[in-house]
Point group: C2
Chain length 119, copies 2
């Protein structure tokens, strides 16, 4: 199952939400509600699930502060910080890829206009 280290990485940090959560927490600790606002489309279920899995994998810590109002804060563990360079590189590559997509789409449109003008 784990013959491929790359796949193991995808398992831990892949999925629809984990990378984005790590990306935020990377900067500073966040509360549960804050994360919900930062990642608008996520449901409570998926956020909770992702947080639990990241915690289980030792990448983040859950800290509960008791008070009049309940406060829970999530932050990167020391080990979790090893993901930062990786996320950085993934983010760079993603941005570059986005540019590529946009450029290709623009060229496509130019061709279409060209074709239309020819008619």
């Amino acid at each position: 199952m784990y013959n491929c280290p790359v796949e193991l990485t995808v398992e831990v940090m892949g999925g629809k939400w984990k990378s984005r959560i790590l990306w935020h927490i990377n900067k500073k600790p966040y509360r549960y509600g804050e994360l919900r606002k930062l990642i608008p489309n996520i449901t409570q279920k998926m956020l909770t699930q992702a947080l639990r899995e990241l915690e289980e994998d030792g990448l983040i810590v859950r800290k509960v502060f008791e008070g009049n109002v309940l406060k829970v804060e999530y932050s990167l563990t020391e080990y979790g910080q090893t993901t930062t360079p990786l996320l950085e590189l993934m983010s760079q590559w993603g941005k570059n890829h986005k540019h590529r997509i946009d450029r290709l789409k623009a060229e496509e449109n130019k061709v279409e206009i060209h074709t239309i003008n020819k008619k």
Copy 2:
């Protein structure tokens, strides 16, 4: 959808097989059948599907060589080669994570033995 570049990267290179395919093709071009042998558990369907998507994203090229026997070769495009550093880093992180898992498991066993001896 694409507000997060990291997620875009996951979409392009994530999934169960793509990273492994890229990982192989990275070294040298391979034929369809060779890839099936290199990635034993993959089905034709998933291999074909992954190859098509990688091709569509501009990361790999499909070259057909007509002959007595049909021969199809897949290789990285120039753009596809930009994934190499990323895959390298993901592989490193995955290896390290594997070590961590194994170490933690070993410690767990020590505790168990310790507990048993105490009984």
